[in-house]
């Protein structure tokens, strides 16, 4: 019995962790190519999920079609936001950049509240609702699909960055923006591209998250837990973001169950932040981040 609960919690944790990993991926992507830390990433996730919700329930589109249309819409929104708000901030001090994205997060959250209201909404999911039995543990199918989809997504990402022209130019722009310019890479397009891709990943994360929870305008707070994931993995490491996300998803689920008796209910909500505090004490640049050496 003990093992089954543990197994079930781990799978749920991995599913949540996959969602965190997707959001974290968007963060790292934008950070790597534009040096901008995008606090609005969780809100992009939320907006994507709401878009999908509107297309599927209000326009009565089939799930897959609605999902793809939501992806396209979000890509457009992200491109516009990047060009209007973010591009002027490239190269500005850290605080200014952070605050612009925090302001953006506020705008997106406020607009969502205005348009869709503050009630909880249920996104219809295409996944069967009856749990399947695995090693004697009942597992929600949506969770399994989330894990699988994230895994596929990560492989695609890996291949994209390793082999495609666009992926290589993104890495180049991240490495050294000026040299990338000199090599004839269209850095502006790379910047927009990274926002578009980040918004796509965010939308996917949002739809999956909404399929095993529900939609509400404060969903972004769940998404903020991707921050500890990135910091844990190291800000500039893509595989670090993924591993960080999974660690945090699993840890908070296990902590929520096993430590509840000792530390009170709701301990799962801050497990991520406690972990990140401890890691920061030991390794101030995360588990896989590059250690920066500064010269004056």
């Amino acid at each position: 019995m003990g093992f089954q609960i543990f197994f079930q919690l781990t799978i749920t944790g991995l599913a949540w962790g996959s969602v965190y990993a997707c959001i974290a991926l968007g963060f790292v992507l934008i950070f790597k190519s534009t040096d901008i830390f995008n606090f609005a990433q969780p809100e992009l996730m939320m907006l994507g999920a709401y878009m999908a919700f509107t297309l599927i329930t209000m326009l009565r589109l089939p799930f897959v079609l609605g999902f793809f249309l939501a992806l396209i819409l979000m890509a457009l929104i992200a491109a516009v936001v990047e060009m209007m708000v973010i591009r002027p901030m490239v190269g500005e001090p850290v605080l200014a950049v952070i605050m612009v994205t925090l302001g953006l997060a506020n705008v997106l959250r406020g607009m969502t509240g205005l348009i869709w209201g503050y009630e909880e909404l249920q996104l219809p999911t295409p996944f069967p609702s009856d749990p399947i039995m695995l090693f004697g543990a009942a597992i929600n199918q949506a969770e399994i699909y989330t894990i699988l989809a994230t895994a596929v997504l990560l492989v695609i990402f890996f291949l994209f960055f390793k082999y495609s022209q666009a992926g290589i130019s993104m890495r180049a722009a991240a490495e050294d923006t000026k040299t990338a310019f000199l090599m004839g890479i269209n850095v502006k397009r790379v910047f927009t591209g990274s926002w578009v891709i980040a918004s796509l990943v965010a939308t996917i994360a949002g739809v999956f998250l909404a399929s095993f929870t529900f939609l509400e305008p404060i969903m972004g707070h769940t998404g903020l837990k991707a921050l500890p994931a990135i910091i844990l993995g190291g800000l500039d490491s893509i595989h670090g973001a993924v591993i960080g996300g999974l660690i945090i998803g699993v840890a908070e689920n296990l902590a929520g169950f096993y430590l509840e008796d000792y530390l009170g209910s709701g301990i799962n909500e801050i497990t991520a932040y406690v972990i990140v505090l401890i890691v920061m004490m030991i390794r101030p640049y995360g588990l896989f981040g590059t250690k920066e050496i500064e010269r004056v």
Partner: protein
């Protein structure tokens, strides 16, 4: 992002707290105006002014940490919360008088600041931001879940403040306490900024390694900035608790922390006047929005449950527009206006 002061002709002039006699006169007049305000305004206006005063104190505290020292903190509301709950628990459970609860709130918050300050010695930029964010969420969680101490979301009610037998149970009387403390904090911050310590803090902000090489003890000054800033935040939190008379966990959330950063950015980073104007602006903004959106909600009842979205959106827009168009904040606009008029009516 910091705005430099006007050109000065001597060190002595540069070291003066108030640059000109005109400024002194203006300040005295402004002070008199502040003292007379409660007699002219209604109860609600005085309450809003009290909130402004508390926010000014809080913003000045954050300005020392973020504006002068360059350590970005997304956990300012957490420090205020620690101060507020120290005062509330002290006053409600231990019967602590106001004059003891206030400094105690500051000291407890400062101790927390010292603890958070230690890891920051190794962290920089975004890693620090997320660490303070983590601290913010952990404090929020503790406030919410440590029910035996904080009574969770039912909140703690405080007895009205009392100074030497004088009961301050109206907003008007408490207003004076807040104004005096706000002015004191502003003067303290201004003097701190001009002292060796303040200059050391600015040096840490501008280039910390270079600062260390010229003999500034990095660890000492970074922790000092955290301690002073969170002491002020704790006092502001305690004042807020006494002002409201009832505090709950939602007064000190992550959004509040963002709001405080917005204040010092909108006002102008690293300036005392900027923090003051910024705090006033960000507190009065929702009042204006409510004045507009209230009638809107009654005209279109379908909007009523969603109207909260407007203020959130406007907040965000204000932050974005300031950063894009006026990175030096309201203080920068003020300086430009002054510069424009200085040689008037000649163009040069």
């Amino acid at each position: 992002m910091a705005v430099t002061r006007f050109c000065t002709r001597s060190y002595r002039q540069d070291l003066r707290v108030f640059p000109s006699p005109a400024a002194k006169i203006l300040l005295v007049l402004g002070g008199l105006f502040l003292l007379c305000l409660p007699f002219m305004a209604g109860r609600y206006v005085v309450f809003v002014l009290c909130v402004c005063g508390v926010s000014v104190i809080g913003a000045l505290g954050l300005n020392i940490l973020t504006g002068y020292t360059g350590l970005i903190s997304l956990g300012h509301a957490a420090f205020m919360g620690i101060g507020a709950y120290t005062a509330a628990v002290g006053a409600a459970k231990a019967g602590l008088p106001f004059l003891a609860a206030l400094p105690l709130a500051g000291i407890v918050a400062a101790a927390a600041g010292a603890v958070v300050g230690v890891p920051t010695l190794r962290l920089k930029g975004l890693y620090l931001v997320v660490t303070t964010l983590a601290f913010q969420f952990i404090v929020e969680h503790v406030i919410y879940h440590w029910e035996s101490l904080t009574q969770s979301d039912r909140g703690i009610s405080l007895p009205p403040a009392e100074i030497f037998g004088l009961k301050l149970d109206t907003y008007e009387s408490f207003y004076y306490v807040i104004v005096i403390l706000a002015v004191a904090t502003a003067l303290f911050t201004k003097n701190l900024a001009m002292s060796r310590t303040g200059r050391a803090l600015v040096a840490v902000r501008d280039r910390d390694i270079a600062a260390e090489i010229i003999g500034i003890h990095l660890a000492k000054y970074k922790i000092l900035a955290f301690v002073v800033s969170s002491f002020i935040a704790g006092v502001a939190g305690a004042l807020y608790a006494y002002l409201l008379g009832l505090i709950g966990p939602d007064h000190f959330t992550f959004n509040q922390s963002v709001l405080y950063i917005a204040m010092i950015i909108v006002g102008g980073m690293g300036t005392v006047l900027g923090s003051i104007i910024g705090a006033l602006f960000m507190v009065l903004l929702p009042e204006v929005i409510n004045a507009v959106s209230g009638p809107l909600a009654s005209a279109y009842p379908i909007l009523a449950p969603r109207i909260g979205g407007i203020s959130v959106t406007v907040y965000g827009l204000v932050i974005i527009l300031f950063l894009l168009l006026e990175p030096n904040g309201l203080f920068g606009i003020w300086i430009r206006i002054k510069r424009y008029w200085k040689p008037w009516p000649f163009t040069y």
